[in-house]
């Protein structure tokens, strides 16, 4: 029996209108804007924005700051991803043991950073990282180590940002890995144990292969999240010192909402979108093949 059109429109209409206006049309508009020189001068009269073809993209390729932002974001990605995966997988495996106590306490405390507002906790971190009054350098000094000027030194600024990024991400990914681990049937471990497999062998030959779908999901989602790095460098360093923590989205924000070069900023958004879509397609392909 077909549902009458009146009901269909009533139920799907509101969602569809909102999605069209705030999501689907803007996606196409973004592509279009990236081919124009839309800037602060045409804000009041959109018709004066000129279509300039691929010029924004050509300029981006020559823009040293954009390359810097790209490299910084990859730097964060390449360091933060393996560390997050190893830490959260370790925590998940340990929390999945039958003999482990206080599981709920650990789960809840690991999860706190994830639900916490990034902007507010970044302010807390910027003081923890303060070279003279900060908690971290005081702690290091107990071991006779003189901590660096974390956020003020171009060499250490990105590692500081990465520290906060990892601190926020571990708990969430631990929960995801834990859910994946709980899907592995017990009899596999029992059989392996009967055959005399050591805990390490069980981990390498049962846990890791069985966890592959979860790992594919976790890592691609993580890459997508890290590519959108913004709040941490915005609050900790504003992209400095010497642009050493300038990320792709921070650069987009600067071009778009500080200089109001909205056409140029849109071309950055398009490139980000293409990178993320490629990753999503790769994930779907990998997941389909399992």
């Amino acid at each position: 029996m077909k549902t009458s059109w009146v009901w269909i429109l009533t139920f799907v209409g509101p969602a569809l209108i909102l999605l069209m206006v705030f999501l689907i049309i803007p996606i196409f508009a973004s592509f279009y804007l990236s081919f124009t020189d839309f800037n602060v001068f045409v804000m009041t009269d959109w018709s004066r924005a000129k279509f300039i073809g691929l010029q924004n993209f050509v300029e981006l390729l020559k823009d040293e700051l954009f390359w810097k932002a790209l490299m910084n974001t990859f730097y964060c990605l390449v360091v933060a991803m393996p560390v997050t995966v190893v830490l959260s997988l370790t925590c998940a495996v340990l929390l999945n043991r039958k003999q482990t106590k206080f599981k709920n306490f650990f789960k809840v405390s690991f999860f706190l950073p994830f639900v916490t507002n990034t902007v507010a906790i970044a302010i807390v971190w910027s003081w923890i990282l303060n070279p003279s009054y900060g908690l971290l350098n005081w702690f290091l000094s107990l071991f006779g180590v003189k901590g660096p000027n974390w956020l003020g030194d171009p060499k250490w600024a990105m590692p500081s940002v990465i520290m906060l990024v990892i601190w926020k991400a571990v708990g969430y990914n631990t929960i995801l890995f834990l859910a994946g681990l709980q899907n592995i049937p017990d009899f596999l471990y029992e059989a392996a144990e009967l055959d005399g497999a050591s805990p390490w062998q069980r981990f390498w030959y049962i846990t890791l292969p069985m966890l592959k779908p979860t790992t594919v999901f976790v890592t691609t989602m993580m890459i997508i999240g890290y590519l959108q790095l913004f709040e941490e460098p915005y609050m900790l360093t504003q992209g400095g010192p010497l642009n050493s923590t300038l990320s792709i989205v921070l650069y987009l924000y600067r071009q778009g909402f500080k200089f109001f070069k909205l056409g140029y900023a849109s071309s950055i958004a398009v490139i980000l979108f293409l990178m993320i879509s490629a990753l999503t397609l790769l994930r779907l392909k990998l997941a389909g093949r399992k």
């Binding site: 902007v119 807390v124 003081w127 959108q228 924000y253 993320i276």
Partner: protein, 275 residues
Amino acid sequence: MGKTSSLRQVAVHGFLFVMAVAMILPFLWMISTSFKTPAEIFVLPPRWIPKDPTIENYRELFASIKFGRPFINTVIVASSITFFSLLVSSMAGYAFAKFRFKGRDKLFFLILATLMVPGQMTIIPVFLLLRQLGLLNTYAGLILPGVASAFNIFFMRQFIMSIPNELIEAAKIDGAKESFIYFCIILPLSKPALTTIAIFTFTGSWNSFLWPLIIAQDERMYTLPVAVSVLAGQYGENLGIQMAGSCIVIAPILVFFLFVQRYFIKGIALTGLKG
């Protein structure tokens, strides 16, 4: 045998404990510092319990910096987004799960495809649109873009699919309209799904930063994350005020989380696996 396994127990719990401390310590430091007088703030080693605790930082935050306004703004915006998003996406979810009409699955696939679009992709056109409509610095401007959530529609549809058709058919035979079925059958049965997305949507919109930063440029329309980010710039040296401000942003969600953490953690595991 007994010795190695007890050694292992100690190592495992030691590692987990160190991780837990690393996760909790920044919060404890923030809370303790927010109650300190300027004289005590920079004392090292840090005093975890202030010698003479003061609420001066909080008083100043609300009296002279007027943090009450962004607090109320955030409550209004986050609750409205949650309420409307729940309503709109459960309605659409019901339609996509149970209605029969031409193009239903194609339309749903289109919505699904938007899930992979990053928020930064739409922010510039939406900013221009809101500006044109005169909705910058308004509650409508802060709320509307947050209501349209492809993920919530997807999540509701998946859940409502599992509600048996027989229930709906039986009600229809008794002459029930779609609106009655939605309010009296679908909504009550969807409570677990509604709870999950309510929690995620509320937390997400409470913590949202980039969108309100761009849409609310007028001080009176700031949400808490924007207000606290401005605080860090204007009161750069006043650590006590900054920690009190951070506490105000973080504490409500943290308390909320501690109450609903079961649903939270279950929800993450669920949405993650569905991926």
